[in-house]
């Protein structure tokens, strides 16, 4: 460092730190009072060496210049020329080599005189190895008239002329773990350099069409997509340009919304929802002849009820999680009073369908003229649908809950829209209703038949309730109770461990256990290692934490540690082959 300082003293306008030589340039030997003129930091790199751009990419450090200016002087920060991509697999950095000028503007004071401007430049110079460079640089400039150009004037003008200019209008969208920039035109060789240090270094065209080109930049681990993407776009044969665009939700988000909508449609066929929906349709048939406008009003109110109820559930869950509760979707089936109430409700609806009493009819607002009745029957549909959403859509909704709040609410909204869609469509187009059978005695028969799934749902809920109130110990000698310590011990012993994260109220868990995990060949394979059962029927924070560690918020989850190795999660719907393959069995 002493040698460096000495060199700086001996040679005031030039300093070297090995492979890079630094100097300050001015376009004026004499600047007019108050004149703003071009200046710059020149870095001359030895072949193979480079310094870094504003966003250095995967490694490196942006070059800095700190001025110590005499009174009355001011300096703008330098403007970054378009960088080059420096590739050293697996890393990509952004920077410069060769003879580089980082241009900037200086403004002289209004009083004439001689000045010595000083600045400290700091950079990182790298070839295979990296060396930090630092130089204290001097720039003598006279202020007076007439203004006189220095020999460096043309070089600085050229540096300014080569800077990136305003570019074409572009758009950007968010995808899973990346942001995609869409530029007009066909540019197979285009490169994009993001200003924000949120991305991995590599980026290149991912889709080149005749009219537009898409470039994808991968987000760094843990980085959230920014609301705006900006940077330098370099197209072969064109001057570099600066582009910026708001980042819109991408196709990935739309796809999730579509699946949520389809899931909502399916929900109508679930044993707990179908009877309620049927009642609504029957009520509509009975009132056939009522005005179309009134029917539409009912449809809209019902849809609003469904969507609001789903949003309220999602919001309650988000709020509980924000407050630190370890809840996942299906949480409403982890509380005995809630399960008991839902079971009672299902019995009441079933009895009502049998025609034993008519209170429920009014409860569901079928007879109500006011659209308020339809709104609450929408809410009611969600309440009775709740037991079914856990087993059938727990995993998908669990995923939705891990997203930022607006996305979660959007997914639940789409789910509600899907749930409400069939009835809303029927009610809005009386022509569709006319295709249904005419009202008659069959309706009473159908109602009675529909009571069966309601009673079955009630029975299932009672069974869940029984498990909640008296958790049965793992009856099978094969299954050990899960704990993190037990799994650690098993892994340390190099044994193959299988963990079944389950809950009594989770239908797909029960199906997997009965159809796959209890098969003799699967049990035999499990017995050769350790089989652990983590029962989440009752709320257990340790299990919730473990689910979260695997990126889940609900059950089922199946994890295999083969011979004590890394955890591998299995699909939610098991087959014997999937389990045996994962266990390493022939």
């Amino acid at each position: 460092m002493k040698a460096l300082l000495l060199a700086a003293l001996l040679c005031p306008s030039l300093a070297a730190a090995g492979a890079v030589r630094a100097e300050l340039l001015s376009s004026r030997t004499t600047a007019a009072p108050a004149e703003t003129f071009n200046a710059g930091l020149r870095l001359v790199h030895k072949p193979g060496w480079h310094t870094y751009w504003l966003n250095p990419g995967d490694s490196g450090m942006a070059t800095r210049l700190d001025w110590r200016l005499p009174p009355g002087w001011s300096a703008k920060p330098f403007v970054w020329p378009a960088p080059q991509r420096i590739v050293a697999p697996p890393l990509t950095s952004f920077g410069y080599g060769g003879d580089l000028v980082l241009p900037l503007e200086l403004t002289a004071p209004s009083t004439p005189g001689r000045a010595l401007l000083r600045a400290t430049a700091e950079w990182l110079e790298c070839a295979e190895v990296c060396v930090p460079g630092k130089a204290v640089l001097n720039l003598p400039v006279t202020v007076g008239l007439p203004s006189r150009e220095s020999p460096d004037g043309p070089r600085l003008r050229a540096a300014f002329d080569a800077l990136p200019r305003g570019g074409p209008a572009v758009s950007a969208r968010r995808e899973d773990g990346a942001v995609v920039l869409v530029i007009p035109g066909r540019w197979p060789g285009a490169e994009f350099f993001p200003w924000q240090p949120l991305f991995e270094g590599g980026s290149g065209p991912v889709a080149v069409g005749p009219g537009r080109t898409e470039l994808s930049v991968t987000l760094s681990p843990g980085a959230a997509a920014p609301s705006e993407l900006s940077g330098v776009l370099v197209r072969p044969g064109e001057p570099p340009v600066v582009v910026a665009a708001k980042v819109r939700p991408g196709l990935a988000a739309l796809r999730h919304l579509l699946f949520a909508f389809l899931g909502g449609l399916l929900l109508n066929l679930m044993p707990c929802v179908f009877p309620v929906l049927s009642l609504k349709v029957l009520g509509l048939l009975q009132r056939a002849g009522g005005s179309a406008a009134a029917a539409r009003g009912h449809a809209a109110a019902y849809a609003a009820g469904v969507i609001v109820a789903f949003e309220l559930l999602a919001a309650a869950l988000l709020a509980a999680r924000a407050a630190g509760a370890s809840l996942g979707w299906g949480f409403h089936l982890q509380s005995a009073p809630v399960v008991a109430a839902l079971a009672l409700l299902c019995v009441l609806v079933g009895l009502n369908l049998l025609g034993l009493f008519e209170v429920g009819t009014r409860l569901m607002g079928i007879g109500a003229r006011a659209s308020g009745g339809s709104f609450f029957s929408g809410v009611f549909a969600v309440v009775v649908a709740a037991p079914c959403t856990a087993p059938f859509m727990g995993a998908a909704l669990g995923w939705a809950l891990t997203r930022p709040a607006p996305e979660t609410l959007a997914v639940f909204g789409a789910l509600g829209a899907g749930t409400a869609a069939p009835f809303a469509l029927l009610a809005s187009w009386p022509a569709l209703l006319k295709r249904l059978p005419r009202p008659g005695a069959w309706m009473e028969t159908l109602k009675k038949a529909l009571s069966v799934p309601m009673f079955l749902t009630a029975l299932w809920l009672l069974w869940v309730l029984a498990r909640l109130l008296a958790p049965a110990p793992a009856a099978d000698a094969l299954w050990k109770t899960w704990s993190p310590e037990a799994v650690t011990a098993s892994r340390a012993a190099g044994r193959t461990a299988f963990v079944d994260f389950t809950a009594a109220w989770c239908l797909s868990c029960q199906v997997n256990e009965r159809v796959v995990l209890s098969r003799p060949e699967v049990k035999a394979a499990l017995a050769r290692g350790d089989a652990f059962k983590a029962d989440w029927t009752d709320r257990d924070p340790a299990i919730a934490a473990e689910l979260a560690a695997h990126g889940r918020s609900g059950v089922p989850l199946y994890i295999v540690y083969r011979k004590g190795g890394e955890p591998v999660s299995l699909p939610e719907i098991l087959t014997p082959k999937i389990v045996l393959d994962a266990l390493g069995e022939p």
Partner: protein, 193 residues
């Protein structure tokens, strides 16, 4: 070694992610003893990518910042491994014997220096820079990954004013709190694969 390469190949696709299990590995220490991450369950573990000649590493060793952290957390039972993924012939590569010398000369407080000359574990963790830091909880979950602090320079004068992300993550996580900054951008020299 074949098993290790296989294990690496199997999990190469899965980028390390905070909140997820830290990828397992086995590497020899400078003392010749193998270290297997999954057998360290029950302990807090810090992984530090190391290259003694990198100016950014020298910033933290010259200022004794790194040794201070190593010793402070060793006293709390944290296992701290400095990993060298430099290829033989490239900057920062050390033989086991040389690493033993560096451990003493640099007055390092690391539990061991781990030797990864093939870069398999570096690639497994997608280690980009020296230093690049990882904090793993006693359950084997990665709770922090990224740069050592928020002043991405090679200047030792920037150490005192910086927020040390590793110390913050360890202090928060060991107190049972959520790590407030679980992922940061690593800075430094590129790992010399």
């Amino acid at each position: 070694m074949n098993a290790l390469v296989l294990a690496v190949a199997l999990f190469a696709a899965a980028a390390p992610e905070t909140g997820k299990p830290a990828p397992d590995f086995t590497l020899p220490g400078q003392d010749g003893k193998p270290v297997k991450l999954s057998t360290l369950k029950g302990s807090w573990v810090v992984l530090e990518w190391f290259n003694k000649d990198c100016p950014f590493v020298r910033k933290h060793y010259g200022s004794k910042n790194m040794q201070g952290l190593q010793k402070r957390y060793a006293a709390k039972g944290v296992k701290w491994y400095s990993i060298i993924s430099s290829k033989p012939g490239k900057q920062g590569h050390l033989t086991a014997k040389e690493a033993e010398g560096v451990l003493k000369d640099h007055e390092m407080g690391s539990t061991a220096i781990l030797l990864d000359p093939k870069g398999t574990v570096g690639r497994l963790y997608q280690a980009k820079t020296t230093p690049h830091m990882f904090v793993i909880d006693p359950k084997g979950t990665l709770v922090f990954m990224g740069g050592i602090d928020d002043k991405p320079t090679a200047d030792a004068e920037d150490v005192p004013g910086a927020r040390n992300h590793v110390a913050a993550a360890l202090d928060e996580a060991m107190a049972g709190k959520k790590v407030s900054v679980p992922t940061t951008r690593p800075y430094g020299c590129s790992v010399k694969y």
